[in-house]
Symmetry: C2
Subunit: 373 residues, 2 copies
Amino acid sequence: MDTPVIDHRGPEFAELARKCLDGIKTIFKTTNPVIIYTATGTGAWEGALVNTLSPGDKVLMVETGHFATLWKKMAEKLGLNPEFIVTDWRTGVDAAAVEARLLNDKRHEIKAVCFVHNETSTGCLSSVPEVRKAIDRVGHPALLLVDTVSSLASADYRHDEWGVDVTVAGAQKGLMLPPGMSFNAVSDKALAASKTSKLPKSFWAWDDMLAMNKTGFFPYTPATQILHGLAVAIEMLHEEGLDNLFARHDRLAEATRCAAKAWGFDIVCRDPKYYSPSLTAILLPDGYDADSFRALALECFNISYGAGFGPFKGKMFRIGHLGDTNDTMLMGALAATEMALSLAGIPHNRGGVQAAMDCLVSAHENSTHAATE
Amino acid sequence: MDTPVIDHRGPEFAELARKCLDGIKTIFKTTNPVIIYTATGTGAWEGALVNTLSPGDKVLMVETGHFATLWKKMAEKLGLNPEFIVTDWRTGVDAAAVEARLLNDKRHEIKAVCFVHNETSTGCLSSVPEVRKAIDRVGHPALLLVDTVSSLASADYRHDEWGVDVTVAGAQKGLMLPPGMSFNAVSDKALAASKTSKLPKSFWAWDDMLAMNKTGFFPYTPATQILHGLAVAIEMLHEEGLDNLFARHDRLAEATRCAAKAWGFDIVCRDPKYYSPSLTAILLPDGYDADSFRALALECFNISYGAGFGPFKGKMFRIGHLGDTNDTMLMGALAATEMALSLAGIPHNRGGVQAAMDCLVSAHENSTHAATE
């Protein structure tokens, strides 16, 4: 990316753009076009809504946590009528609850089901196929919009096979890029909906974008430097292999949970079914301020945890283990965490680091066994 | 900018953000806040419209060229009712025409006057103070929205003094940054309008942005790497001094026009009053294809001109002389152009390069005289 800016109307650019536009499809696992926005994930949320929906449309959303709540607020601001399936922010999407609500929507007033695949604020990963099946069982025509900002290229994801209509993603997580680029992967059904959608749109409009992308260009100035990075990121992901990459994320997540358990702490995600491969949100014992702990760890060990939101504000810290991360980096982070817990005087059991190492060694042994069997 | 991504919720970030948010005001010459979008200029156009206007609002725009036309199309897509003051794309904004139209708008149906300060597709720079005075003479309450994508930090600009309500700008021209960031400078009147504006908005909404910016943060993930660059760019601009920078742009523009004149070519801007300091659009003789010429020059000399749009498609090429450019770079570009004209067999007079050198020498002599007087 640290390269001179090229002319975004010149032939060299078209080659770069085609590489990105074709390559990114293999990450979403779609044969349909993927829209690349010069904006962060919040912009791609807006793109998903304004291209497919009309003022006043009812959308069913699931309150998995902070980001689901922000997406709902956005829907309200844009003049949609979102309905929330409430949770305690410690779980993923209950497909049965979605099914029950849709079954009740005899007149098909709900135009879209929207949820966050991996809720970054809590570390809960939901099952897209389960929600898809729930929608199909009821025979409901609602579109399925899924936010994969913190799951794409970290957790298994299959836009086409899973029947998602719009997948929202960003550059700065699993794709390992700096922030400033985001995506909408689209189904034929979503494209059809975009022809009749009545929400006003211009910057986010798919039609202009798709028409220009066919020629290898963008309707307006794109973030050329991040495109350079995206082309390389896609190569790196395939070099590792997506399945290996998902296994790596699962391994690092499991090791982090082992450490948390050994320390004697709960994690926010209370059901193993929803464990996230991207991040782990760890609850501190009652009475200990997680934000002070985060500040101390940043000061002593230059480690930057995610904050707690909503009901968990000041009560938890989040360890991200996605993207360009490996066992060695994670162990450094877990050791820093265990040391920071000691320095902060937060009561915990020693041995979290040891537990994580045991977990990783065991995972590597199993994978070696599996490979030689 | 080539630095590890920092946590956009950490204390180090707040320091960077404050530097940018405060610093950028000195470039727009405003004491009001400036909104920094993670998006390119097209996004900031949308920000200016959706924050201040309501569905069906009439806006008066001036057809200075391709970018003014795109902004008008955007207004239409967003459900506004734009009215165009037509031009032949060879001139800037005629303030008298704006005044006449506003005078006729007895019921004040026009809610905003929008124009492009420097029309990038033609190289015509309009006078903001003249338009402001025209609006004031009529006593019309319309907002004044100005696109400075290719003029900010290249031509003199004074958001507050000139009474502009929203100034739109991008990172990738005078601010010398890669594309991926854009701006809305706002007046109190624009902020007041944003309280009652009814166009749906979320990503572009000023209120959330201003509230978060007060704490040194952004409501959603910003383009951190470009912010690093912005902080440095602002320092560089002040190191040179804005007045010196404007004089440099004027000098390079004048030298380019001297070359074009010596070659025997017309430039698109037909009235010296509107000459642009940022770029010069040069018309080729009838019957010669400018796009083939551009391709040849790119191939032989690795020089990338802007294309012609609208009535000038295939008829002209544009030389940008803004941002991180100096006399030496410009002379290289003009020499490459003169050589490419020869290689392309396009009839022209020799001596364009000499004329440009004479022009630059004379400008430097005059500025030395002025400095020693």
